[in-house]
């Protein structure tokens, strides 16, 4: 296969990838889009393998099938609640692959066609340094994110003195080593660049707390794209450049959406600060205030007499595995003629869109699931809101209390509904460690207990 033909086929596969993302604009077209993406990937791999002078094809096939078998097995078995850590783990693999490819290109530049008369072209060296550094940061950063999400290490931010100074120094060192590498092409500089970037990835993510993981996962998604683009520049391969740019901008947009949903700037997330502030507030003594506590029968009575119910799920619902019984409860209510919908806050899950997947898995039709911006006006004309496993995303302090750490964060205006049924394990504060004003409102009834148990009792009482 000659160069022109393979370039054209790479172009076709780039278009397939763009259409795969385009398909995700609605659930109906998404599956077709996904198949197009798979086709694009097969085309890309096939074109490369059919290239001139390719050897060791059997070994390549073994490597692809081995990796493919592992990936398929994991993806088929994984629980949807564990999705964020799976994605983080996958991102780390992209980072690792980028570093390996860059290392291979460095060790054997002739094979990858980047060898000039005086060693590797300077431009290729620059691109290689950038690709390697981003790849290495993606790798260790994703490993840390995976460990935090999986609960292997504590989700709370690990902060130590002089952290920012060390990170800044390390970042400067990475750049300096990169320049040294470009100037001298020395082996030592390359490996030192890999090592310092690996360390930087680790130190960047370690101080970020569990509540910020949706942003971190999106950010690493973005990095994995930029790493692929960097390698594309090194190898002069437009397919890699285009795909990397698509993925990079996708991750960047998701990070932006997540940051906006928490009213934080990306710098604020990266440099921490949120968790330490709220920690102090969570530890402050609180006054005892009267709370209305109800039981399943009370709640069932209120729900039966409602004409519209909005369910507000949070990650706690998924942890308690309450989504199936919740959907049964909703079915029961719908049969009784109640209008039931679900309101989703962008950070309700542990990654963008996580809650939608968890509800879809419990057979909740996607047209009953509504995003914050669309449903927020409807709370005022709703009879009952059922808050399950969520807390901070309903806290009215975000609108009214400028002193609150979450002030300015968009929240679901649940307190405007006639009655709020709030399922909660205890009266303790939420994930961010902030007291919720909502508990003490007159129209709030607390249902204390495990999310699944409470919903089961409610279902029985209906």
């Amino acid at each position: 296969m000659n160069g022109t033909l393979s370039s054209l086929l790479y172009l076709v596969s780039s278009v397939c990838f763009i259409l795969a993302l385009r398909g995700l604009s609605s659930p109906e077209s998404a599956r077709r889009g996904n198949l197009l993406g798979i086709f694009g990937m097969i085309l890309a791999i096939g074109t490369t393998v059919a290239g001139p002078d390719m050897v060791s094809l059997p070994l390549i096939a073994v490597a692809v099938l081995l990796g493919g078998a592992i990936g398929t097995a994991i993806a088929q078995r994984i629980q949807m609640t564990a999705l964020p850590q799976l994605i983080a783990a996958f991102h780390s693999l992209v980072g690792a692959a980028a570093v390996l490819v860059a290392a291979a290109a460095f060790l054997h530049p002739a094979a990858l066609g980047i060898l000039g008369e005086h060693g590797i072209h300077t431009a290729s060296l620059v691109e290689m340094a950038i690709g390697t550094a981003i790849g290495a940061i993606t790798f260790t950063g994703s490993v840390v994110a995976f460990a935090k999400l999986q609960g292997l290490v504590t989700g709370s931010p690990l902060v130590f003195r002089g952290q920012h100074m060390i990170n800044a120094a390390l970042a400067v060192a990475c750049v300096a080593i990169g320049i040294w590498f470009v100037a001298t092409q020395s082996d030592a500089a390359f490996w030192l660049l890999v090592a310092s970037s690996l360390a930087l990835g680790l130190l960047l993510i370690v101080p970020i707390g569990g509540a910020d993981m949706p942003v971190v996962v999106s950010m690493l998604n973005s990095y994995s794209g930029w790493a692929a683009s960097g390698i594309g520049f090194t190898l002069h391969n437009n397919l890699l450049i285009i795909t990397g740019a698509l993925v990079g901008s996708s991750g960047a947009i998701l990070s932006y959406i997540m940051c906006k949903a928490m009213n934080r700037s990306i710098f604020n997330v990266i440099f921490g600060g949120f968790a330490s502030e709220s920690g102090a507030i969570g530890g402050a003594p609180r006054e005892q205030r009267p709370v209305k506590i109800g039981n399943a029968e009370d709640a069932a009575f209120i729900m039966q007499n409602a004409s519209s119910v909005i369910i507000v799920p949070g990650y706690g619902m998924a942890v308690a595995q309450a989504q199936h019984v919740l959907r049964e409860m909703a079915d029961q209510l719908k049969e009784a003629g109640v209008n039931v919908r679900y309101a989703i806050h962008p950070v309700a899950g542990r990654m963008p869109g996580h809650m939608n997947v968890l509800l879809a898995e419990a057979n909740v039709p996607y047209d009953e699931v509504v995003e914050l911006e669309e449903i927020n006006r409807d709370f005022a004309v709703t009879d009952v809101v059922y808050v399950i496993g969520a807390n901070d995303i309903t806290n009215p302090a975000a609108r009214s209390d400028p002193k609150s750490p979450i002030f300015g964060m968009p929240v679901l205006d649940v307190e405007k509904a006639k009655t709020v049924l709030f399922v909660k394990r205890s009266l303790a504060s939420g994930y961010a460690g902030i007291d919720n004003e909502l508990f003490y409102r007159d129209n709030t009834m607390m249902l204390l207990g495990d999310a699944k148990k409470v919903t089961e009792e409610l279902l029985k009482a209906l």
């Binding site: 385009r22 390549i60 992209v94 901008s249």
Partner: protein
């Protein structure tokens, strides 16, 4: 890529530097990504991450070239071993990413018409 052309040829043609061409492609692709991704419905942001994760593993193309390109001095070079390792990692991602996104998308169902 061929080695840099002699100065006389460069002066004669107005063809842009390959790096600038790559940069052009890159910047335009960023814009496409920007507009396409903003149109993705928020409900499908998780499948979006899985799909982007799978397609970013197109880096396997680089790994394939590293592993399969000839002109090795003798036997299997270290660069080839690195290539094989990268192929395996990228393949985990490609299959894993597409399978998990297909699984997720299969769960999204419309309200049954009554």
């Amino acid at each position: 890529m061929p080695p840099l052309a002699p100065a006389s040829q460069v002066a004669a043609s107005s063809a842009a530097d390959p790096v600038v061409l790559s940069l052009t492609v890159f910047v335009l692709a960023c814009f496409i990504g920007y507009y396409v991704v903003w149109r993705v419905t928020p409900a499908l942001h998780s499948p979006l991450m899985a799909v982007t994760n799978a397609i970013s593993s197109v880096i396997i193309v680089g790994a394939l070239i590293a592993a399969g390109a000839t002109a090795q001095a003798h036997g299997i070079a270290i660069s080839q071993l690195l290539g094989f390792a990268a192929i395996t990692l990228a393949a985990v991602n490609i299959f894993g990413g597409f399978v998990i996104s297909q699984r997720m998308l299969g769960k999204f169902k419309k309200k049954p018409k009554t």
